[in-house]
């Protein structure tokens, strides 16, 4: 294609260059100069003719002065020399130098010779004119004054002179000289005859010379040489013209070639144009279709972009090497990097290296399975983001790309955790309810046979008391005998204890069942009443007075004055306090350890609190969160049922209160209970306490266990 464009241009340019050269050469060179030369040659001819005319006029005595003659001669010479200089001046014009210089030089030589003769002619002619005049005058004077003989002699002389002037016959010269010599001896007219003699002799001397000069001048070859020069000029012009003609012919031929070439190119161009027009039509149709396709593509592309940009997910594409090639706004929001900062950086930067030391591998592996994986990302500020990443790979040409759609799942995770905990709680509650139902049923079923055992064991003890006397008698009588496989003596000693054990066991079953019933049966508050926490505390202490005295030597109470009242069941409140106190007292390894009980008001939380602090053995941290679970006990051997704190917590909850433990093993435990204080405006209203307490509850429903350092 390229060669097709520069080649014709080069050819045309070359042809044009050639044409220009030929055109310059085909002009008759220096046409004006040639014309001038011709004119100068013609002028030379005219001047030469003029010179001849003036010479002849002068000879005839008709030229009054020599100004014009001198001028013509000098002009002739000047023109010829100028022409000679011009012929030789153009060193490029060899033709002129070779053909024109030589004839001009010849002409100049001839003209120089001719002018020398003209000068001599002028001098001699002037002299001759005077001499003829003086000869004439002197002759006339002499003839008028001389005697007859002399006059005749002078007349003869005059005749001879006249004849000589007309004919230039050399024979007359001798005659004239003789006559002139004879004039010498006429002394009277010495002056006149002297004049006649000298001028006559001068005439005879000058005339042939003048005649010779005139003939030489007339016979000068200058006219012929001017003709030769003119012919040379003609020939020169023809030669130059012939050369120019040849160039003109070449010019014409080259022009024809140029036109032909241009026509050929034109035809080619036309063919191409037609072809191009068709191709253009085709292309236009194609491009129309492509344009529409492009438009729809662009539209869908824009839609896709808008979708990508509007997505809350981070949509990131990487190339083979793991460098980011596409980045959306969601990604900027998620990771804190602007688009420009993110592009062409490795994707690994966005993932927590701590959690995924082998990220690229994960990525690569995941990208083939098109799976959704959970990864941990890193925000620009360093915080970690739990991510759900869906990976897909695609390729464009040979390049392979991976697109990751990342969703921030921290909120979801949190919700899931909450849901799981609530579910656990629900399960626990269900478990408790089922347990309650089970326990109620079991308690009832156990209670009846247990009552029989308890009642019959009393009867059995009575029976043994009665039978022992009889058997003692029998033993005395019958000697040693066995009773129930054992020697009677042994049996007599252990049997009361056995019966007592039965009775104790049954009593224990009865108490456990009662506890179970208490725990399982939904506790309905009695008629809710407003009461003072301090009163409940004092009542509970009276009940436990004996136990306190037995367990510790240091028991302190610090009851706050002017405590706000609380609403609820006072007996249940007492039970709570009793349970807590009993737990505290039983945790004491020896009586030297103290227990303190205090009440206080928390004005800011609008609640009233109770604190029981002991210096007991403490609770292991791992046990703290299970304290309120039913049947959780560390005193299985001492007969703990694990229901005390569960019931206590249940009661506290029923009152809308809150319970917290803190403990340090070996140093002691601190238990706190908060009850919501009774508000004056609510007094008298018949509202169920739990609902009320829930509404007023200033504390979270499930506060994390608070740990108070033991003091």
């Amino acid at each position: 294609m390229r060669s097709a464009t520069w080649k014709p241009a080069l050819i045309v340019a070359l042809l044009l260059l050639l044409l220009t050269y030929l055109w310059a050469q085909s002009r008759s060179p220096h046409l004006e100069r040639q014309i001038r030369w011709h004119e100068t040659a013609r002028t030379l001819e005219l001047y030469d003719a003029e010179l001849m005319r003036d010479v002849l006029l002068a000879r005839a005595g008709l030229l009054s002065n020599y100004d014009s003659l001198s001028q013509t001669g000098q002009a002739l010479m000047r023109l010829a020399r100028e022409l000679r200089t011009e012929f030789g001046s153009d060193s490029a014009d060899i033709l002129a130098a070779t053909t024109l210089v030589a004839p001009t030089d010849t002409l100049i030589g001839t003209l120089e010779g001719k002018l020398v003769r003209v000068e001599h002619f002028k001098s001699d002619n002037a002299l001759l004119r005077n001499s003829v005049m003086y000869f004439h005058l002197a002759g006339r004077v002499l003839r008028s004054r001389a005697n007859r003989r002399d006059a005749a002699q002078i007349g003869r002389l005059w005749q001879a002179m006249l004849s000589y002037i007309n004919t230039l016959d050399p024979e007359l010269i001798g005659e004239i000289h003789r006559d002139l010599d004879q004039l010498d001896d006429t002394p009277s007219l010495r002056e006149q005859s002297q004049t006649l003699i000298v001028h006559g002799r001068l005439i005879v001397e000058l005339l042939p010379r003048l005649d010779l000069l005139l003939r030489d001048i007339i016979g000068s070859s200058s006219v012929a040489e001017i003709g030769v020069l003119q012919n040379a000029l003609q020939a020169y012009g023809q030669k130059v013209e012939a050369t120019a003609q040849a160039f003109r012919l070449s010019l014409y031929l080259v022009a024809v070639v140029l036109v032909g070439y241009l026509l050929y190119q034109f035809v080619r161009l036309r063919t191409y144009t037609l072809y191009l027009r068709q191709a253009h039509g085709r292309l236009q149709r194609e491009s129309m279709g492509r344009k529409q396709a492009e438009a729809s593509l662009r539209e869908s592309d824009e839609r896709l972009r808008a979708m990508t940009e509007s997505a809350h997910e981070a949509i990131i594409s990487t190339d083979d090497a793991g460098n980011i090639v596409s980045w959306n706004r969601g990604a900027t929001v998620m990771f804190g990097y602007a688009t420009d900062d993110a592009l062409n950086t490795p994707l690994c930067r966005l993932l927590s290296s701590r959690r995924h030391p082998a990220q690229p591998a994960i990525f690569a592996a995941a990208s083939f399975t098109a799976d959704t994986v959970e990864l941990t990302g890193v925000h620009r500020d360093g915080s970690e983001i739990p991510l759900e990443v869906s990976l897909s790979n695609w390729s464009r040409g040979t390049a392979r790309y991976v697109t990751a759609i990342m969703r921030d799942i921290s909120t979801r995770k949190h919700l899931l955790e909450t849901a799981r905990q609530q579910e656990l709680k629900l399960i626990q509650t269900n478990k408790m309810t089922a347990l309650g139902t089970l326990v109620s049923g079991v308690a009832h079923e156990i209670n009846n046979p247990n009552h029989l055992i308890l009642m019959n064991s009393g009867i059995l003890a009575d029976v043994w008391n009665d039978a022992r006397e009889i058997l003692d008698i029998h033993a005395i009588g019958a000697g040693a005998f066995k009773l129930g496989g054992l020697p009677y003596d042994e049996m007599r000693e252990s049997l009361p204890q056995l019966i007592k054990n039965i009775r104790d066991g049954a009593s224990r079953i009865e108490r456990i069942v009662a506890d179970l019933k208490n725990f399982a049966r939904p506790r309905k508050l009695g008629e809710p009443a407003v009461f003072s926490l301090n009163e409940a505390v004092e009542h509970a202490m009276r009940l436990l007075n004996h136990l306190i005295g037995r367990k510790t030597a240091r028991f302190q109470t610090r009851l706050a004055e002017h405590l706000p009242p609380i609403r609820g069941d006072a007996q249940q409140a007492e039970q709570i306090i009793v349970n807590l106190l009993v737990n505290a007292l039983e945790a004491l390894p020896d009586p030297s350890c103290g227990v303190s009980l205090s009440t206080f008001a928390v004005a800011a939380a609008r609640s009233v609190g109770l604190e029981v602090r002991d210096e007991g053995i403490g609770i292991a941290p791992e046990h703290l969160e299970h304290l309120c679970d039913p049947f959780f006990t560390t005193k299985q051997e001492q007969g703990g049922t694990g229901l005390g704190l569960a019931i206590t917590a249940s009661l506290v909850r029923t009152h809308g209160g809150r319970l917290s433990f803190s403990s340090e093993p070996g140093k002691g435990t601190c238990v706190r209970v908060w009850f919501p204080e009774e508000l004056p405006q609510d007094s008298g209203e018949n509202v169920q306490a739990p609902a009320l307490s829930e509404l007023r509850m200033p504390f979270p429903q499930e506060p994390p266990p608070q740990v108070y350092p033991a003091s």
Partner: protein, 324 residues
């Protein structure tokens, strides 16, 4: 003549004198034109050069030194004084009306004023100048180089120096001689004796050589057709033979112009005639083979006195020391 004027190829010199030449066809003598056309800028530059003594090698002699314009444009000496006192020169010719001469100097060695001027400039006996020296001097003078640049497209060079000088020389015309006024029809410009002298001048054949607009200056003639009885020093000069080496030119000299002849004594190439009377006598005797009567000679002298013209509006000549 028709061809000359019609072709229009002749130089300015030819055309200025063409009119005079045309008049010459009808009469042997013709008056000088009242004014000549020359480029004033070139003339002014030429005059400056003409007056400048630095144009001579010795720095003393200007052109004007030998051609004082208030005294007939010649030095009034029998022979021109060589700058170095060596070989004697001929009598200094007047520069007035040189435009109408066809040959220059006594031997006609130059046919153009430019060439004649160059000869004078380079002649070791006269200005003794060399071209490089002269051009260097002129080029170093801001006034000259500026004047040349103004007057000539190609500025200062050899041809333009000569042309400027020649232009000025061509402007040295002395019109309005009483004889010219007489020729122009002012019949009372000559008194009776002068008119008689004019008639004698014509009749006796003086006019055969002293003809044309300049009464001479356009042909050569042998000095002494009618030989002197005593071959004195006067005839030693070979004249035009020095130029042409043609035996026919031995003792031949240019016929000088008679214009301003009354103020350009002494006369002849060797200054042998101190007065016009002597000169007229010598001419009559040597050229015409006659002895003039005192009356005729006086009339002739009186006529010759009417040939003195004006230069720049003032009558030429005035008092000048007579060389006896």
């Amino acid at each position: 003549m028709v061809a000359l004027v019609g072709l229009g190829l002749a130089s300015s010199l030819a055309s200025t004198s063409g009119q005079a030449a045309a008049q010459g066809l009808t009469a042997p003598l013709a008056p000088l034109p009242v004014a000549v056309e020359e480029n004033t800028e070139k003339v002014a530059l030429g005059e400056k050069l003409f007056l400048d003594p630095r144009l001579s090698h010795q720095g003393r002699n200007a052109c004007v030194s030998c051609h004082p314009l208030d005294r007939g444009a010649m030095d009034g000496k029998i022979r021109g004084e060589s700058a170095y006192g060596s070989a004697p020169l001929r009598n200094t010719p007047s520069l007035f009306n040189v435009a109408f001469n066809y040959f220059y100097n006594w031997d006609g060695g130059a046919t153009t004023l430019e060439y004649q001027t160059e000869k004078a400039l380079l002649n070791p006996k006269i200005m003794n100048m060399k071209w490089p020296e002269l051009l260097a001097f002129l080029g170093a003078e801001p006034e000259y180089s500026r004047a040349f640049s103004d007057a000539y497209p190609d500025g200062l060079n050899r041809n333009n120096v000569l042309n400027a000088l020649a232009s000025f020389e061509r402007s040295l015309v002395t019109p309005n001689a009483r004889f010219d006024r007489y020729l122009r029809g002012e019949k009372h410009a000559l008194d009776a004796s002068e008119e008689h002298g004019y008639r004698l001048f014509t009749v006796m054949g003086c006019v055969a050589c002293h003809q044309g607009i300049n009464l001479g200056g356009n042909l050569f003639q042998r000095f002494g057709i009618f030989g002197s009885s005593k071959p004195d020093h006067e005839d030693v000069d070979a004249g035009r033979y020095e130029i042409t080496r043609d035996e026919g030119d031995r003792g031949v000299f240019r016929v000088p112009s008679l214009r301003n002849v009354a103020v350009t004594a002494p006369f002849f190439h060797d200054g042998r005639a101190a007065t016009l009377e002597q000169a007229v006598d010598i001419m009559a005797q040597r050229q015409l083979g006659r002895v003039l009567s005192p009356a005729d000679r006086d009339a002739m002298v009186r006529f010759l006195n009417t040939l003195t013209g004006e230069y720049r509006g003032l009558p030429e000549g005035g008092e000048r020391p007579r060389v006896r």
